[in-house]
């Protein structure tokens, strides 16, 4: 009995997600259909790409709000290059590079100037959003050729390339965190910065790398999203980062740093997706959807802090 309790405490989010999956399968006709599930995976791909690397940033003890702005700006720059050269690979390279560069800028502000990461990335968000208007000349941008839309839409084994990209990024993030020296240093840095430094960990470098990786991942997510929409447009829209953060936090990765896992974020992303999918299939008023979603987040975080207290 004690083991069951221990197991469910540790894997709570995965268990709940599976239960929700079963519940929806049994109660609705259209949930467990190939089409619906494939759509779900495709829709979640952009969030998963960014959220798995956001998990790493949060474990290292930081926050990154600028994910939204990188998500908006990178595809604009990619399309700028695509329009100019017609080369899809150069476009991809440019889009990802500008994401990495913006991540590096965040890294400098946070690790060199020691600005609190929440404030720093909120401020850089505005800069990046502005850059987006500059690049696009304040207008909607479209790809010249057909190749750009294939980035997210090509199908392998009936599954979109967006989904495959998400899978690859999740696996990479997971391996980085659990199987490399860098991953250990991330946990050490988030768990106890002073102790990590005295154990020879270059704390600033570790944190800087986490920001740069997330910058790249956010850029990829933005490109996938624009490829799916066959267009990109500048905006000041912060909503993407909140979906990403919701997945990470509901998954149980501690915002205090030092604790968490990519699989948790993935499970939570699906939990949230199943929930909103279930709402739609059961035709629940969107008004109530929000209220329930908010409630679920509160409950998830409360359970997490409650179980931690019982632990010690």
């Amino acid at each position: 009995m004690k083991n069951v309790l221990e197991f469910s405490k540790k894997h709570g989010i995965a268990i709940i997600t599976i239960l929700l999956f079963i519940l929806l399968t049994l109660t609705t006709d259209s949930f467990f259909t190939e089409r619906n599930l494939r759509n779900l995976l495709d829709q979640q791909s952009t969030i998963l790409i960014a959220a798995s690397f956001m998990t790493i940033v949060i474990i290292s003890g930081n926050f990154d709000i600028s994910v939204s702005s990188i998500f908006v700006v990178s595809p604009l720059f990619a399309l700028l290059v695509e329009n100019a050269t017609g080369n899809i690979f150069l476009a991809l390279l440019a889009g990802i590079s500008i994401g990495l560069a913006m991540g590096a800028f965040n890294a400098i502000v946070v690790t060199y100037f020691k600005v609190n990461s929440f404030i720093a990335t909120l401020a850089t968000s505005f800069m990046f959003f502005g850059l987006g208007y500059l690049i696009s000349d304040r207008s909607l941008m479209r790809p010249m050729g057909d190749a750009y839309q294939q980035i997210a839409r090509t199908k392998f084994f009936d599954i979109t390339s967006a989904t495959w990209l998400a899978l690859v990024m999740v696996i990479i993030a997971s391996i980085i965190l659990t199987r490399t020296r860098f991953g250990r240093n991330v946990f050490a840095t988030g768990g106890n910065q002073e102790a990590a430094r005295l154990a020879g960990v270059n704390v600033s470098r570790v944190q800087a790398v986490t920001f740069i990786l997330l910058g790249g991942a956010s850029a990829l997510a933005g490109i996938v999203s624009s490829s799916r929409a066959i267009s990109a447009q500048p905006s000041d829209d912060f909503s993407f980062v909140f979906s990403v953060l919701t997945a990470v936090i509901v998954g149980g990765t501690s915002i205090a740093g030092g604790k968490g896992a990519v699989w948790r974020t993935v499970a939570a992303a699906f939990f949230l997706a199943f929930m909103s999918n279930g709402f739609n299939l059961n035709q629940i008023d969107p008004l109530w959807q929000r209220i329930i979603l908010g409630l679920v987040i509160v409950i998830a975080v409360a359970i997490d802090s409650w179980s931690q207290r019982k632990n010690v």
């Binding site: 250990r184 768990g191 102790a195 154990a199 020879g200 960990v201 030092g258």
Partner: protein
Amino acid sequence: MEKRSNNIKTFISFDKVSKSFGATNALIDCSVDFEAGKIHALVGENGAGKSTLGKLILGVHKHDSGAIKIDGNEVTFSSPKESVNQGLVGISQELSLLPDRTVVDNIAIGRETTFGPFVSSKKTLEKVLSVMKKYDLYIDPNRIVGTLSVADQQKVEILRALNTNARLIVFDEPTARLASHQAEQLHNLVRSLAESGTTIIYISHFLEEVLKISDTISLLRNGLKVRTEPTSKETKKSLIEGMTGKDAGSLFPKKPKIDPNSDTLLKVKNLTRKNEFHDISFEIKKGEILGIAGLVGSGRSELAHAIYGNSLPDSGSVEFCGKEFIVKDTAKSIDSGMAMVPESRREQGLILERSLLENTSLPYLKKFSSWIYGLNKPQEYDEVDDSCMTTMVKHSGLEKEVQFLSGGNQQKVLFARAAMGKPKLLIADEPTRGVDIGAKQIIYELISQLSKVGEAVLLISSEVEEIIGVAHRALVMSRGQIVVELKGSQITKNAIMEAAFKQE
């Protein structure tokens, strides 16, 4: 003040009382009588059960079996409030005062004289003043508690206890945070409380203090009461032997011999870091244990951090293994063969929420890491297991989080970490702070073993006995400078203390 009659009466007695926390037996079949108006001291190592005994009386914990009797009647306390109502109060090391409120508010808290729902400030003050007068213990009632010295704050706590008509006061390490003359004052107060009939249970690590102040001493070891004797029958030596179950002399291992021809390992010359330490020069040979003594704030730890690369020296030079060593960062120092056991294991040493495995291997992951395969976990596991074995870490699995280990074992994990790198120089800053005598002994053994294999140790310690017992040579620091260097038999308590307190 009423005087008690001469025939001594047992106030509270324990009859075969046991208490366990999970698998740990904190107190086993303990029988002891506490006599009214006497000072009864409890001594023992950390974890011997003395604080548990105090907390049973104060209703913090509930005993599992046996009986606790007050004036011959059996009682069970399920909350601290019930104990307080019986007149049983505790004064602990950490004070529980409201720092922003006045003295009178703190003393009268929960016992204000009221008129309907309103507190009558005047009557409350009168009552507090009468208590102060009765025990001849005056503190300005309108002062804000946070502005008082630690010693006066403690008096406020004692007055609060007296204001509840305490019949028994449990003092748990009351002098740990006091300067010596303040401790003296507290002793006088405790004695006068006992004379006026209050029963005192006095828990302390300081054996001299216990011998000076108490009437009776009970000795505990591993949850068992060893003996209860009148204080006149005990000595410091007999207490230490009773606490550890071993000879007092065996706490420190024999110092290893230094080969007079061995090379200089570390040479520090004119090292300076502004506002921390100034013009420091010394050498350590291979196989040598060099102690650095001095008061907290004398620049000892700062010096260690500047050699280890956690901060950079402003001027001066360091030579390590015969070559010039430019201090850059901790990673470089570790790669060159230094290791550090930092001063505070919880704040500077361990990542508490991570496993024993990850904590031990953290500085040396390079050994198990390659670009293509990532970490070689089986090899890492084996080496960490080995290292924990040599340093005698008691654990129930390398995957367990270190926060669940005891203080002594956490400290040993830091030694296991250092041992993994087979360092040439070990910097140990207060390596035995807050660990019990058993763990201390193992740590001293480890320090001397490291130096046995041709390495050197820089031992920083506030415990003079530790420096005397372990180091070959000692430097005493005061105000950021080395005041004196002591060798061999020159290292005495007096010599160290004199130098440490030396004023410029």
